[in-house]
Symmetry: C2
Amino acid sequence: MALRARALYDFNSENPGEISVKENEIVTLQCEQDIDGWLEGANSRGERGLFPASYVEILKNDSVSSNNNSASGDGFQTSSYSNVPSGGYDAPYTTQDNVTKAPNVTSNFTTFPVTAQQQLSYQTSQGSDDDWDDDWDDSSTVADEPGVVGGSYRDYDGNGPSGYRVSTSMPRGGGSQQAKSSATVSRNLNRFSTFVKSGGEAFVLGEASGFVKDGDKICVVMGQYGPEWQENPYPFSCYIDDPTKQTKFKGMKSYMSYKLTPSHTQSQVNRRYKHFDWLYARLVEKFPVISVPRLPEKQATGRFEEDFISKRRKGLIWWMNHMTSHPVLARCDVFQHFLTCCSTDEKAWKQGKRKAEKDDMVGANFFLTISTPAAPLDLQDVESKIDAFKAFTKRMDDSVLQVNATVNEFARKQITGFKKEYQKVGQSFRVLSQAFELDQQAYSAGLNHAIAYTGEAYDAIGDYFAEQPRQDLDPIMDLLALYQGHLGNYPDIIHVQKGALTKVKESQKHVEEGKMDGPQAEGINERCNIISFATLAEIQHFHQIRVRDFKAQMQHYLLEQIGFFQKITAKLEEALQKYDNA
Amino acid sequence: MALRARALYDFNSENPGEISVKENEIVTLQCEQDIDGWLEGANSRGERGLFPASYVEILKNDSVSSNNNSASGDGFQTSSYSNVPSGGYDAPYTTQDNVTKAPNVTSNFTTFPVTAQQQLSYQTSQGSDDDWDDDWDDSSTVADEPGVVGGSYRDYDGNGPSGYRVSTSMPRGGGSQQAKSSATVSRNLNRFSTFVKSGGEAFVLGEASGFVKDGDKICVVMGQYGPEWQENPYPFSCYIDDPTKQTKFKGMKSYMSYKLTPSHTQSQVNRRYKHFDWLYARLVEKFPVISVPRLPEKQATGRFEEDFISKRRKGLIWWMNHMTSHPVLARCDVFQHFLTCCSTDEKAWKQGKRKAEKDDMVGANFFLTISTPAAPLDLQDVESKIDAFKAFTKRMDDSVLQVNATVNEFARKQITGFKKEYQKVGQSFRVLSQAFELDQQAYSAGLNHAIAYTGEAYDAIGDYFAEQPRQDLDPIMDLLALYQGHLGNYPDIIHVQKGALTKVKESQKHVEEGKMDGPQAEGINERCNIISFATLAEIQHFHQIRVRDFKAQMQHYLLEQIGFFQKITAKLEEALQKYDNA
């Protein structure tokens, strides 16, 4: 019997050698073993070629088996959140067609997109100073541009899930151009590589080494709720001004420049989006178990349009807020260089840039900089906390997805349907008053005027409905987009920790089998302990900012809604008064 | 070539001998001449039988001719508001499919339904005391029942004009049973007959005679705005209590009984709907140029359901209000008998009933009871006022139609769409709070609770939206239904006056031609003057109650809307407070 697999999501081939598959399509496989995350097989139309292993599940004896990635066998393949009980929170979505139909598009919890996207940023942002002034940012071509972030209900076409985009990272297309020239993309389809690439493996095995300066030391302390990053003793914030349009090459090229004013220097610097992008790449490279907030994404068309500029600025404000709120990220050298280096001192900038790119304390070496409390963590306890967090992020990702879809649709309804309904009422009142005006008698005039005014009031209320989402729903969507980014980061972070834990278990087994000596295993255990402290500290930080952010945003939303309904009430009261003299 | 006709509307056969036709279906006719308003022919499925003449247009030489009813031709058939310029106010409705597609269903300005309905009530309500206790009211069969009045958005099926019914009189059903046994139906299709039947012609020609008692005298006086009915020196109102269900024949039959308490007697009487119906028939018969408010119509199914009972009671309250507000109707004997005769004194009731049915001062003789100011009206001036009013009623009818359709749809949207949208938002907030509850940390609990509460608040707001139309839009629809009834009465009233005017013009011509002597023409002129005074007084009264009613209703609507949005605001403020401790 031929080996078969069922497609979990749509996959559209974009390169020679790939074949397209549709969700639920049955494909026959050449071999169960994936090669760098790709499987070879034939689709139902008889086309032969490659497709991502993570997009299908292998069918064994006509029953649904676990994900085929498990074929590459290691301690990590049971992850992908498959061990989270699915009954409880999947059920609510079965009635939500547009949510469930495109999990690969909208969820960050599919393997491929997240890792590839992250990795691609890293790949493409490497480079010499020569390309620093190139327009790979604001003048880049359409093909380079990933999807639009956040609420795009204005473009909603009413034709299902493709109409809105709630993910901060599109599953592909975000880097299809680069993918062709990058050998790392397909390797990243393998989850295990996260542990290897992040340096987690090298560190746990004791292969990381480097000189840690005092200034590089990062402390994890025991707080009220468990391990946490030591607070930043010099907290600061950073204000981002309205961006201005700059031109060069005699106006041939143009780009947006953002004015940043950090509170601890009070000295303004100008940065372009590509500078943010470069910084982001450095941070992702440097911190294997810290969730670096994702940048608001690029947009190909209408880049200088007011809407987009305002949207990206808001995205960057959120991003900056998360950066300065993070005890580790806020203090790191490359971020400080970005915030404080004088925009016009090109030499100083390049110096700092080179230094950051040559930073030794990245990846595996980052763990060398961490100092932890003396008492080691209980491995069992860590594992259960990590599992709980995994379940939490899965559940939060699902609900964020639902809130985003709902809010997006709610905004669209207010802008279109609600507005229309209220204005139709307004229009019918105006028509009535016009009919009444045919009666020229004096006692009729006041009423006619009042009804006409009521019509106008309903017109205005229709406009209020259309304008309101920008004030209250858009900010919610901005917040959700940011958190979708974080939620997309956590699978990798969790896998680094899980990888370390697996190494510990392996080493214990090896000791029992006499293949490893005690001190060596102890070293692995200690280094895993450091990774666990860091991971738990990061999780703690996530929960704290999550509670802070969602509280603030819900309050803002409700305040806006209250103001909105009060505005409507005031308008109606105005209309009512017109009848006093009627 | 066979005589053919095209169906203008759907007609569903309900009785043996009838055949169903679909809108636009071509039927072949046995004969062009209708019999009592019915044509005989075959539909496209080959079925032979009867269908209403007014539902089809006869096709002559394959071109669309005028309605076949015009075959009975006389001086008045060009009326039907066809001389009102159509460009101005027809244009806005061409985009309103559901308004324009069924003019006969929704507009009172088609000839047949209005006149037939009015006439049928009159016909069927004649009769001996024997049928007084029969259940031709609340226990009548489906075939006897006319359509539902007012807003029926709950039944809206989204399939076009049949979904909602804004007219107080359906084109059929109201009298299809009776139509076959009534020779007056088809005669009433002829507009001129209104003048004849109302007694207008007889009176103008001096053929009316009778003894007018002092108590029967009805005065038209010159008021600030022109002729008006002399005010009722003893104004009163009448309270209608919640109806109670009564049974008879050992519970085999049941009916609703309404408790009426007139303010001038403070003595409660019980009346059934059929008593209202009988009264209505008396009033229509008696007053040729007074718009007797139409009764809320019967309903075949669910007659005792709360919704319908409440709806009919509200309709009867409106009706009663218009009755007691009218200086002439409020004071007339039959109405006073209805309001004051003790419910249990069957003898007194039957006496009053017989007296009313034998009333001499009906139709032509009614005009004998009118006394007018000494100075006669200027004929030219009267004609232009009547024309202006005709234009006004046409325009008002159109706009009432539009308001009704809009308000109906607005109510439906609030009950379905708006509710759904707000509750979807509520649901997504609850899902988010449930996800957040997976994080068991203490600092998270307050937020989780607050978000859950916000979800509930949005659920409640959804319910508010669904409940609100009953408070504010339903009363508007009730008002519009009442006014649609009045607007449906005016074509006949106007035609009585126009008929009189035509007689005057004819008589002047006859005098010029020597066919009539001066004094005879003068008599016609004087009697026409009385009709004009009465008509203008009635128009004046209409405008005054219109301004009063619409002002009150718009104020009520706005007050309700304000209260509604304040309720929402209060709910949101409650939700916001939950975050204070979060």
